[in-house]
């Protein structure tokens, strides 16, 4: 069996998404390609040989040897501050992947798709949106994107432009823009009911974000009658219940 190899990626470009999150555009010679929703393992090694690994979702659709990751800086984190503050273009990074064959959307899928992301949980969902566009797919997509405030939106420009067949709903939990109808608050049944799909449409549901968020949203989907096997989840979370 072929081992998943470690690749040496080179940071080609940095795009700031928010003051605390950036997209790392990587060139990875020998990259085998990936499916939307998969992630990579990143390994950092210090001069004394100490090394540590973390997982990061791929944000981009397959594009040769180019791979985008978007990393949220976690205060006091060991790896994310390095990736978001220290790393600069030209630096190299050890990467292995793609990993994960379950939380993936394939462009030949025909069932409607519901994407529900909390915070950096948007990352693998964005890869699905991009893969859909790249394939010229007409599969109807709906995105529910929960985040604290408008300034924390990732991919803001790209999602502002209307994409045919994609509905985007922002759910702000702390601060809303002026004149915004929905008061700030955590995701509710009403949000999923309004911004999602009826269970009879048998959508594929992808839910990604912190553990508590994923638990809440998947419980709501079950209560609305969605089939448990149609709900795929990815928990980035720090803490569990």
């Amino acid at each position: 069996m072929r081992r998943l190899a470690w690749h040496v990626a080179k940071l080609a470009e940095i795009r700031d998404e928010t003051p605390t999150a950036r997209t790392l555009v990587l060139d990875i010679p020998g990259w085998p390609g990936h499916l939307a929703g998969q992630h990579v393992d990143v390994r950092l090694t210090a001069e004394d040989g100490y090394s540590t690994q973390r997982s990061y979702s791929i944000a981009s659709a397959a594009d040769g040897e180019r791979v985008d990751l978007t990393v949220q800086r976690v205060a006091d984190g060991e790896v994310s501050p390095y990736l978001t503050e220290e790393l600069r273009p030209g630096d190299e990074l050890e990467i292995r992947g793609p990993v994960g064959g379950w939380f993936v959307w394939r462009p030949d899928g025909t069932r409607p798709v519901l994407l529900v992301g909390g915070g950096s949980g948007i990352v693998p969902l964005m890869a699905m949106i991009r893969a859909r566009e790249q394939a010229g797919s007409r599969t109807p997509f709906r995105l529910l994107y929960s985040l604290r405030e408008p300034g924390e939106r990732y991919y803001a420009e790209e999602l502002r432009k209307p994409i045919s067949g994609l509905d985007v709903t922002y759910l702000y939990t702390r601060v809303v823009p002026d004149g915004w109808a929905r008061p700030a608050g955590r995701v509710t049944v009403a949000d999923v009911n309004t911004g999602g799909w009826p269970a009879e449409f048998r959508p594929e549901c992808f839910v990604c974000g912190p553990t508590g968020f994923v638990e809440t949203v998947s419980d709501i989907l079950l209560a609305m009658g969605h089939d448990a096997t149609a709900i795929k989840t990815e928990r980035f979370g720090p803490t569990g219940g």
Binding site: A46, T52, V99, W102, D219, R235, G237, G240, G241
Partner: protein
């Protein structure tokens, strides 16, 4: 000279703690699962061992509670890289559950409420290496962590410790489970860093 990440120092190392390669220490308890958390009412809960000859041994919740329990304190290693040390559990040893099971099968497929499966050799379930647990840290096991009961096989990566465990099917041939079919390692020994197929 191996690869060095320019400017990476890492956290100050606690030299006293030895972790499997590629793992880091956490103090909270992260959650990993592929779908929604199933809720299993205790009056309908049941645990089964199905042998290769088609015989089934069953335990209701009351029957499980009536069995002698153990309180293992073990280290957990999740394939998503975190390790949590010294976790305290309460449950029934699989040696107890297997006491009256007649089988010469070498493989086990563990299955869960909600449809999850994972496979491992039968010998990894025996001789004090595995439990059906129902308490964590002195409290009943939360659904997100696999309650009412989960398998605990701490010497393998945590995905082998099936949450919401429903039964164990004994087989003469190895049958890959959910993550094992999705590209993860068939055995999953953290000390040999067997994360993915081919590792």
């Amino acid at each position: 000279m191996g690869f060095i990440s320019r400017g990476f120092r890492g956290r100050p190392r606690d030299e006293g703690v030895k972790l499997p390669p590629g793992q880091y220490l956490v103090h909270d308890f992260p959650v990993l699962s592929a779908g929604p958390t199933p809720r299993v009412p205790l009056d309908r809960w049941e645990f089964a061992i199905d042998t290769e000859d088609g015989k089934t041994h069953r335990w209701s919740w009351q029957e499980l509670m009536a069995l002698p329990s153990e309180t293992p304190t073990v280290d957990l290693h999740c394939v998503t890289k975190w390790s949590k040390l010294g976790t305290a559990w309460k449950g029934v040893s699989l040696d107890t559950l297997f006491a009256d099971v007649e089988s010469s099968a070498e493989y086990a497929l563990v299955y869960s409420y909600g449809g999850y499966t994972t496979n491992l050799p039968v010998e990894d379930l025996l001789d004090g290496k595995a439990w059906i647990t129902y308490e964590f840290d002195g409290e009943e096991l939360a659904p997100a962590h696999g309650g009412p009961a989960r398998l605990l096989v701490p010497h393998l990566y945590l995905w082998k410790s099936a949450k919401w465990v429903q039964g164990i099917r004994l087989l003469n041939e190895d049958w890959p489970g959910f993550w094992e079919t999705a590209g993860y390692h068939n055995y999953g020994d953290p000390w040999r860093e067997q994360r993915y197929q081919g590792d």
